[in-house]
């Protein structure tokens, strides 16, 4: 009856998303090492780390795009480890990738409406669409445009918007600010904060730049070489720790 065991029981009862000691390999490379993570419902958690340390891999392992060799992922009490991606989306987790994976031959509107593909998402489609256009007015302006004609920032917005259309209550957002101008970065972060404040979404945000994004978070993790070297509230985070994590 160790503390760890109690924590795990408490976690299972209260946490929305629980990742327990997962290991992910790319061929021979051990990317994610015995990693555990838990997120409460409605929390906005930020995971920071340099490139190549496993940030995207972690998100992909949670949402099913990459297989984890051991450990488990539990969402809302259901073990979703290594389930198919679309099954996990049905359960309520949506991954918003860094490389967007949008449907470039289709229009903005078609991409968004496809976001509401799942039957559970369809009744809320109209409402979600309105919310998204409210959050990203630029998308509404361009709604009939073919996606391949959009700018980098607009593509990011569309990726987030399409993810929201799924009606998922857990968003895994992968480096949303990459390649954006400082102004757009702030806009994007504000939007994410607003989504979080509405209270219904659990958000895991993965980013490189701690300083820029740490104000968003309820809790922060620092990822280095596939392991967490820090976990806690943002006020507990100091310069030293950040430096060590990014060396």
């Amino acid at each position: 009856m160790t503390l760890r065991w109690w924590k795990s029981i408490w976690g299972k009862a209260t946490m929305s998303l629980q990742v327990e000691t997962i290991n992910v390999f790319y061929g021979q490379l051990h990317i994610i090492r015995d990693l555990s993570l838990s997120v409460a419902k409605g929390e906005l958690v930020c995971i920071f780390g340099s490139n190549g340390h496993g940030k995207s891999t972690l998100l992909k392992a949670v949402c099913g795009l990459i297989k984890s060799q051991s450990g488990s992922v539990i969402y809302e009490g259901v073990d979703i480890t290594n389930h198919r991606v679309w099954e996990i989306v049905k359960r309520g987790i949506v991954y918003i990738p860094e490389d967007r994976n949008l449907f470039s031959g289709l229009t903005v509107m078609e991409n968004l409406m496809l976001g509401a593909y799942l039957s559970k998402a369809r009744p809320k489609a109209e409402e979600n669409l309105r919310t998204i256009f409210h959050l990203f007015p630029r998308l509404e302006e361009r709604k009939k445009q073919i996606v391949s004609t959009l700018s980098g920032g607009e593509l990011r917005m569309l990726a987030v918007g399409r993810g929201l259309m799924t009606g998922a209550d857990c968003l895994l957002i992968d480096e949303p600010s990459i390649g954006l101008s400082p102004l757009l970065k702030t806009e994007m972060y504000n939007v994410i904060k607003r989504i979080s404040e509405k209270g219904q979404c659990t958000i895991i945000l993965v980013e490189q730049d701690v300083k820029e994004a740490q104000w968003l978070a309820d809790r922060i993790y620092l990822l280095k070489h596939g392991e967490f070297v820090f976990e806690g509230r943002k006020d507990a985070l100091d310069e030293e720790t950040i430096k060590k994590a990014f060396l």
Binding site: N101, F103, Y117, L118
Partner: protein, 287 residues
């Protein structure tokens, strides 16, 4: 007067041929564009569609419409089962998939030989009689074929732009990762696309059957023609396949009329080599 008449026949035949070839090429394009599989069995299903329909019409004495429906449905069902149980485990491996396709083609060809006896068969025409169109008399059958093909094409257009499943297929063909992360069951889509592809092959075989005698050789021809159409149109492009089908259909019609039927395939082949040398993407190729 004969010149005009010949020209008329050429244009009309070309249009009709182009239409049906479009359907045929569509089957191949779909399977490649969505699942990244080259379907070696395209020609085999082309003739099996026709053979099944022939069998149902002449041996089981079902009516024409029902026979065609049943034949295409059989192919569709087979496609679902085959993709799900045989192709799925090897989807990552291109060479394995085409080799399996080659194997299936051998099996299908040999069974067609064995069951339906190699003497060439002709499907009875769908409709009897002739019709006059712009100075030219054509058989009613060709016109009906054309209308059916147009109807199918329209249905497909509707399916792919207005229905949920159709849009899902398009999503998968655009970006299969993107499709999976919004909840589309990509596995099911691959299976469905394969089944649709071979059904279209079989359907075009039925439509072309009264014009062309069915034989196992026709399967190889159909495969070759579909390949050339798809290359001209551009791999993975539906629009390209349709345009290419019309162009090549016209060329076939003109060559048959003015030079000789035997020149059709060599000239198509030559066009293909030219395209690959000068503009490999074809008309509208994206991949």
């Amino acid at each position: 007067m004969e010149f005009i008449s010949n020209l008329g026949i050429t244009i009309i035949s070309g249009t009709i041929l182009g239409n049906i070839y479009g359907l045929m090429a569509l089957g191949l394009t779909l399977i490649y564009g969505i699942g990244n599989i080259f379907n070696f069995t395209h020609g085999a299903f082309f003739i099996w569609g026709a053979y099944l329909a022939w069998f149902l019409i002449t041996q089981v004495h079902l009516n024409m419409f029902l026979s065609i429906l049943l034949s295409v449905s059989c192919l569709f069902l087979f496609g679902l089962i085959w993709e799900k149980w045989v192709l799925k485990p090897k989807r990552q491996d291109f060479v394995s998939i085409i080799t399996i396709g080659l194997g299936l083609m051998m099996i299908l060809d040999s069974m067609a030989h064995y069951l339906f006896d190699p003497t060439k068969k002709a499907l009875p025409p769908l409709v009897e009689g002739n019709v006059d169109l712009f100075f030219v008399t054509r058989s009613m059958n060709e016109v009906v074929d054309f209308l059916i093909a147009m109807g199918i094409l329209f249905t497909l257009w509707f399916f792919f732009s207005k229905t949920r499943v159709g849009m899902a297929i398009r999503a998968v063909s655009e970006n299969n990762v993107g499709a999976s992360i919004i909840g589309i069951d990509v596995d099911k889509i691959y299976t469905l696309s394969f089944a649709i592809g071979i059904s279209l092959a079989g359907l075009s075989g039925i439509l072309l059957a009264p014009e062309v005698y069915i034989s196992t050789e026709a399967g190889g021809d159909a495969l070759l023609k579909a390949v050339i159409i798809v290359i001209l149109g551009g791999l993975g492009s539906v629009k390209g396949s349709m345009y290419a089908a019309f162009i090549l259909g016209m060329i076939e019609s003109a060559i048959s009329m003015y030079v000789g039927m035997f020149w059709v395939l060599p000239s198509w082949f030559f066009i293909m080599v030219l395209i690959l040398a000068l503009r490999p993407r074809g008309l509208y190729g994206t991949r």
